[in-house]
């Protein structure tokens, strides 16, 4: 499990690469950032900071509000990858399976392959190796190089688990030459072959180790594997009696590496085996004077030095060094006893959680930095192991969950208060709106609109254009009407000017009527347009009023609904908090048990050395005394 985090991180980086740059075809000289959806971008922002919890939540909330509008499958791929990174394999598998079932969508081959790959990884982590293999076989050629090599590595691991060593070795041909994954796969294959303890397999295993041991790469991880291969080969040569060959391999190991102490110890034993005791003492003395006393290779060197002195016939010096070894072991037994008390105390747990409130932790690497230096001195390999890191990470993740629940628990009263205020304010506002004159105004306006509409219809049906006359025209028409009787009186008069006046009256009346009737289509169109506008205003007002009325009616239900939701979530928070407290206690206990067990093993080894040193010292002392007598 240890390699899940780095591998997953690399993977998810690949996914995000596909996600962010997916739309950018081909090679571009300048990096181009395109954010397809804001919610998706916010999720990426959290993901890039390894805040998987927040990133998942962001995508789920966006999905609820249908905020992710692009049609491609990147968000699903990201969500599945995020679940995988957050060790929620079931959820991750569900997302990928759903994605792969969406046949009607035109999903690019790169996305399909990535989904198969991640689904395969999910199965692999869950121990479903046959299903994992099936998913890996479904991959065509759309994977990026890094993912492809990881796929090969996982395939190699599956073959090894099935003890299909032939297929496992065939995978080597498909890695790129410079691949680090290839070296890991080779190392694992070699280890498995050697562990089988059958001549043929062991031989193949050593051949693979030989290849790794002679690598000329300067890649840091490859160098570590090279050291490990050389160390294994050296110890096997030593066991088989080939001291020279073993020294050759030991000499290939770097002086500043994680295998240095083991190599120095081995070099000493190789010389010792050839009866070169003086040469054997040199690397052991170097080890004994190193600052890594708690390393078991150094412990072994402590007791090996006097043994070599004995062989050289230097009894006094041997006695002196046995004494030094006993003192050193005693000192360490005392220190480790203190550590046992420390691990059992609350301080140990306090140091695991260095008070980073609310920090989303996705890696426990930094935990070591805050631990007691004495603890790291004795248990560094264990504390750096993936087993511990994984469990410590889980512990920190639960603490973060607790922080989140506390945060929401504190927010619940605020939400309730806001709801109460909202209810109050809304009621007041709505009452004011519903009570004031606006209701009457709407009614009056509606009546006016109806009256006008009726009038226009009547004008249209009667085609009485004069009804559309302007105010000035109406005044003139009225003036003519008022004088109509007078003109009627002089209708038959032969008085001077009567005929002229009659003619003028006729002309004026005719002109006025002609103007109004000629303009009729324009006037009726204009007035109908005004009516339309008025209709719109009235309709909008009515709608608002209806909406207000609906709100008035539904608001109590909505508020009740909110209240129910808040209460429901509050009870969920309380139930989950209890579960989380239990999980925290269990995980703390688990971490303690793990640390104590490692310390017990370490102490047992020191005790063994201590007893051996005491016995050898007593034996040598007796023989020296015997000689003196």
């Amino acid at each position: 499990m240890w390699y899940r985090q780095p591998i997953k991180f690399l993977l998810i980086v690949c996914i995000s690469f596909v996600c962010v740059y997916g739309g950018v075809a081909g090679a571009q000289s300048k990096t181009e950032h395109k954010v397809q959806d804001l919610a998706y971008g916010v999720s990426l922002y959290n993901f890039f900071q390894q805040k998987y919890f927040s990133a998942i939540t962001e995508l789920l909330v966006a999905k609820h509000y249908e905020r992710i509008t692009s049609d491609d499958s990147n968000p699903s791929l990201l969500l599945g990858g995020l679940y995988l990174s957050y060790d929620l394999h079931k959820q991750s598998s569900e997302v990928f399976e759903r994605l792969l079932q969406e046949k009607e969508l035109e999903i690019p081959i790169s996305i399909i392959d990535q989904a198969h790959f991640l689904l395969g990884k999910n199965h692999y982590y869950d121990g479903q190796y046959a299903q994992a293999e099936k998913q890996f076989h479904n991959i065509k050629d759309g994977l990026q190089l890094e993912s492809d090599e990881e796929k090969l590595f996982l395939m190699n691991s599956i073959f090894l688990l099935n003890e299909d060593f032939e297929q496992a070795q065939k995978t080597f041909d498909y890695f790129s030459d410079e691949s680090v994954w290839k070296d890991y796969a080779k190392f694992n294959t070699a280890s498995r072959l050697i562990q089988r303890q059958e001549e043929n397999f062991v031989e193949q295993g050593f051949d693979i180790l030989d290849e790794l041991a002679s690598s000329d790469s300067v890649h840091p991880e490859k160098l570590i594997l090279k050291d490990k291969a050389n160390l294994a080969l050296a110890y096997v040569s030593l066991r088989d009696g080939y001291s020279d060959v073993s020294i050759e391999h030991f000499n290939k190991i770097r002086l500043k590496g994680i295998e240095t102490n083991k190599a120095l110890l081995g070099v000493g034993w190789a010389h010792y085996r050839e009866d070169k005791y003086q040469e054997a003492v040199i690397p052991w003395m170097h080890l004994a004077s190193s600052q890594t006393e708690s390393d078991l290779a150094v412990q072994e060197a402590f007791i090996s030095i006097p043994y070599a002195f004995e062989k050289m016939g230097l009894g006094d010096q041997a006695l002196h060094h046995y004494g030094l070894a006993v003192d050193s072991y005693k000192f360490q037994l005392n220190e480790t006893e203190q550590l046992v008390d420390f691990i059992k105390s609350p301080k140990f747990i306090d140091q695991l959680n260095p008070g980073s409130l609310g920090k989303e932790t996705t890696s426990a690497v930094n935990v070591i930095k805050s631990l007691d230096p004495l603890l790291t001195q004795y248990l560094l390999p264990f504390l750096s192991s993936n087993e511990f890191q994984f469990e410590a990470k889980s512990y920190l993740e639960i603490l973060h969950l607790k922080y989140m629940l506390n945060h929401w628990e504190n927010n619940i009263p605020a939400l309730q208060m806001i709801l109460k205020e909202k209810r109050k304010t809304y009621k007041n506002k709505l009452t004011k709106t519903m009570d004031d004159e606006s209701l009457n105004k709407v009614k009056v306006l509606t009546q006016k609109r109806d009256k006008l509409e009726k009038q226009i219809k009547q004008i249209e049906s009667s085609e009485d254009a004069l009804q559309l006359a302007t105010a000035a025209e109406v005044e003139k028409i009225q003036l003519l009407k008022n004088n109509e009787k007078r003109f009627n009186k002089i209708k038959n008069s032969n008085e001077e000017g009567a005929a002229e006046a009659r003619e003028k009256y006729r002309l004026l009346k005719g002109r006025l009527q002609w103007e109004v009737e000629t303009d009729y289509p324009v006037r009726i169109w204009a007035i109908k347009r005004q009516l339309q506008q008025l209709n719109k205003v009235v309709t909008d007002m009515n709608k608002s009023m209806e909406s207000l009325e609906t709100a008035w009616k539904t608001a109590p239900f909505e508020f009740a609904n909110f209240n129910a939701r808040i209460e429901n979530k509050e009870s969920q928070i309380n139930a989950l908090k209890k579960k989380i407290d239990r999980a925290i206690t269990e995980q703390e206990s688990k971490l303690r048990v793990m640390a104590l067990e490692q310390l017990r093993l370490h102490r047992n080894q020191i005790k063994l050395y201590h007893d051996r040193a005491l016995y050898a010292k007593a034996r040598l002392y007796d023989s020296l005394m015997e000689r003196q007598r």
Binding site: F47, Y184, F187, S394, N411, K569, K579
Partner: protein, 188 residues
């Protein structure tokens, strides 16, 4: 003496076995070894996974509840920040004002800057606005290619309707221009 030497070599052999076993570098999924300790450990792990999922779902529901209650769609405004600048520009902080009132002041960590540079988008602000015209003003402070301090600002009139408003502030530019600037995009 012979017995002791034998013990030492047995110890050496065990040491070798120890090395080979612990050196199985990327392969701790050994069925036999892992399954023996599985039941209890697996149980706790499964509980943790289940808890994680339950809290995620609850967290989602609470976010939705909070948004429904506090930022209803007809009044909601969200302002996002994205970065499209090259490596030579370092963002320090952003200030956001709405109608001349400071609503957000944000100082960025190195980790956040990296996430923004890789294409992430930060939700800078979420709040409520009444319908009508409003003024959004934003400033950013940072360091340019030659370590020069930068301060740039932008102002945009926004019309708030009855729908949620999403505004993206993008700080864009490269060292050839030497002056990154804001691009404001109103998302529909």
């Amino acid at each position: 003496m012979k017995v002791y030497a034998l013990k030492v070599f047995i110890g050496l052999f065990l040491f070798f076995v120890f090395i080979v076993n612990t050196a199985v570098y990327a392969e701790d999924e050994k069925p036999a070894a892992d399954q023996t300790e599985a039941p209890q450990s697996q149980g706790v792990q499964q509980d943790i996974q289940s808890l994680k999922n339950e809290v995620i779902e609850l967290n989602r529901d609470l976010f939705i509840l909070e948004e429904d209650l506090l930022f209803s769609a007809n009044t909601q405004i969200s302002v996002f920040l994205s970065l499209d600048v090259d490596e030579l520009f370092e963002l320090d902080s952003v200030q956001l004002k709405l109608d001349d009132k400071i609503v957000s002041n944000y100082l960025y960590t190195e980790r956040e800057i990296k996430a923004l540079k890789r294409g992430g988008v930060q939700r800078l602000y979420i709040g409520n606005l009444t319908s009508g015209e409003h003024e959004l003003t934003a400033f950013f402070i940072g360091k340019g290619p030659s370590g020069r301090d930068f301060k740039r600002g932008t102002t945009k009139k926004i019309e708030k309707s009855g729908y949620a408003k999403y505004i993206e502030l993008k700080i864009a530019g490269d060292s050839s221009k030497e002056q990154p600037d804001f691009e404001v995009k109103v998302w529909e």
